[in-house]
């Protein structure tokens, strides 16, 4: 869990004996080695215990309490009340999930397709000054997210922004009150947010690019001899060969999108504008936990997000087996 299939394969290939061997059956030299190993990893062991393991358990316990941080002495055990409220009586939760999923789908499709096609373009042997293009296409990813949001929110301005002016120059009515109001129209706002997200695809492009460079050229040569065109080669060779990379990007993207928060927060302080279409799940979580300081309910909301993330990840790993292709597994 949490690692790609490829990684599991590597782990499995390692000898299992050490795993089953207790400390007692080790030679003094082995024991010394084990001790040093544990000493070296101890920062992570401590950090994991303090900042992952214990808070996770505490979070689960919190979720059974009615507990306001402003009045901790009034905390009381309420059993599964928070969970009951969250699952059956709080429409904001399902609304938040629905919005997160809707936006997630739009953003995932556009973002991943763009990252892949951009990598194909930057990998083309016909492209002059490839390295210059690679650097320049990566640069927006380096723009701090808040600065990117601030800039984009004005580029998307229906009257003064350049995006609408560019669209208008193609003869489409975009500028003005009846034009494309990217951030004010609930039908467009997810696309607007997706555009902002496109400035963060640099890492995915680079990883895709590395994957594309790893595809053996003999495959393309053979296909070319067989008369396969560009589209067919892309579909039949490139995509299957880089599917592990696409899978990795998919998992990271999905996990990131489930926790989508900063863009709506910076643009409208989480008020859901326009027409409640940006009430993302994490925005609701933030309000409950930190604005209203409802630690108990907040913890329940956080656990719910974790469970959703776990289900989706497991689903992806299960279905991934049928479409993710690992060339080395055949040998």
């Amino acid at each position: 869990m949490g690692v790609s299939l490829k990684w599991t394969r590597v782990v499995r290939a390692q000898p299992r004996s050490r795993f089953q061997m207790g400390l007692r059956s080790m030679s003094p030299a082995q024991r010394r080695e084990a001790r040093w190993g544990l000493i070296f990893i101890s920062p992570w062991l401590i950090g994991f215990t303090l900042f992952y393991l214990m808070p996770m358990i505490a979070s689960l316990i919190f979720s059974t309490y009615d507990f306001k941080l402003s009045a901790p002495e009034d905390a009381r055990f309420v059993g599964l009340d928070n969970w009951n409220r969250m699952l059956f009586h709080d429409s904001n939760v399902w609304e938040g999930l629905r919005i997160t999923f809707t936006f997630g789908t739009v953003s995932l499709l556009i973002g991943m397709t763009s990252a892949f096609l951009l990598a194909v373009l930057l990998n083309s042997k016909h492209l002059l000054a490839r390295n210059v293009f690679r650097t320049l296409f990566y640069a927006p990813t380096m723009v701090p997210l808040i600065a990117a949001i601030v800039i984009w929110s004005r580029v998307l301005n229906p009257q003064t922004g350049w995006l609408n002016k560019i669209i208008e120059s193609f003869g489409i009515n975009a500028v003005g009150v009846d034009g494309l109001r990217w951030l004010d129209d609930p039908n467009l706002v997810y696309f607007a947010y997706t555009f902002i997200g496109l400035w963060g695809i640099g890492n995915a492009v680079l990883i895709n690019l590395a994957g594309l460079q790893g595809v053996p050229t003999e495959l393309y040569e053979a296909a070319e001899i067989d008369g396969a065109g560009w589209g067919r080669r892309l579909w039949k060779i490139t995509i299957p060969m880089v599917s592990p990379i696409i899978f990795y990007n998919l998992i990271l993207n999905v996990l990131g999108l489930l926790q989508y928060f900063i863009v709506p927060w910076v643009l409208n302080q989480g008020n859901g504008y326009p027409e409640g279409s940006t009430r993302f799940y994490m925005v609701y979580f933030y309000k409950q936990a930190f604005t209203f300081q409802n630690m108990g309910y907040g913890a329940a909301l956080a656990w719910m997000l974790f469970i959703v993330a776990l289900i989706i990840t497991m689903f992806l790993f299960t279905t991934g087996r049928s479409w993710v292709y690992y060339s080395s597994e055949e040998h």
């Binding site: 949490g2 690692v3 990684w7 782990v11 050490r18 080695e33 084990a34 040093w36 190993g37 544990l38 070296f40 990893i41 920062p43 992570w44 950090g47 900042f51 214990m54 808070p55 996770m56 505490a58 979070s59 919190f62 941080l69 373009l121 016909h126 492209l127 002059l128 296409f137 990566y138 640069a139 723009v143 701090p144 808040i146 600065a147 990117a148 601030v150 800039i151 004005r154 580029v155 003064t160 350049w162 560019i166 500028v175 890492n203 680079l206 990883i207 590395a210 790893g214 990795y248 998992i251 926790q259 936990a289 930190f290 909301l301 956080a302 656990w303 997000l305 974790f306 993330a309 990840t313």
Partner: protein
Amino acid sequence: MAKRPDIEKPLSSYQAARKRRNLLIQMGITLFALVVLSIYTMPLGYGVMTSLKTKDQASDPQGPVIPSEALQYEYEGEKYDVVYVPTDDGVQKWALIKPTRRVSQFIDINNPEAGIIEWEGNWRALEPVFETSFQWGNYKEAWETIEFLKLLKNTFIYAFVTMIGTLVASALVAYGFARFKFPFRNALFMVMISTIILPPAVTLVPTYAFFVKVLNWGGSWLPLIVPQMFGNAYNVFLLRQYFMTIPRELDDAAKIDGAGPMRTFISVILPQAVPALTAVSLFHFFFAWNDFFGPLIYLAGSRDLRPITVGLTEFNGLYRTEPQLILAAATISMILPLTIFFIAQRVFIQGIVITGVDK
């Protein structure tokens, strides 16, 4: 002049056609990439351009693309707008001295000695003359209004302290995983990797309650810094992958010389792993530069401790009517990350590829 024989050989028409075709494809694809790139980076251009405009122009839908000001002409101690006037000798740039409904008075700015010229027509239909003019003062104003130096100092201290912390811890942990055998090593490694998929929200609520209520660390940097002193999964993974490529013979040689594990780590592993360590430092630096959620919840109300991200967000909310200042501040905040990236891109890009592809 001696010619190389292969050039003299005439190309067959097939080869020539192929060469021409290749050249066309090259130009087509490169041109296409240029178009895509200019659309993709267009907001950067917009941001910089708008940050150099006057307030009026920044929010004027009809304003020119390049920052500019209406040209004015001084005549007898007064300033007048310069407009384009259609005359018999073509369009002239004249300063509008006295607008009246039917006949207005002008001065030819290229020939002021000629004195007042009268022109018949509606002066309201005349277009003003703009000349390029960059409002560099916006940057100064933004810098001062947002107290950028303070934000920068906060961000820098935070980024630097946590960078050192996470680098030391992650390198130690990575060394442990890469070079030593101990019980449950693989299982622990898997657990560590799987923390990547854990949404931070799950641990956030109790951690927040603990830091703020038990340790009383609210409004300080401690809750942001301390948890980063223990190494994180991404960094450990990257460093471990790199350490594993360092030949073990080097370790063994050091061991024969009597070096203990710690000594080997410092004098053999670390010097060999400089590219990976640099990559991790850069990643962390950019992460810290961008960190928003942590400072948002822990530093609420502590204005003096805010990093750039939180400061810029507040600024964006408070100065909605001053887009040129907001964009100037946004531009300032991205100069350093972009500069570092352009200088260190090779190491940086390799690091991303290692984490992405090796997994």
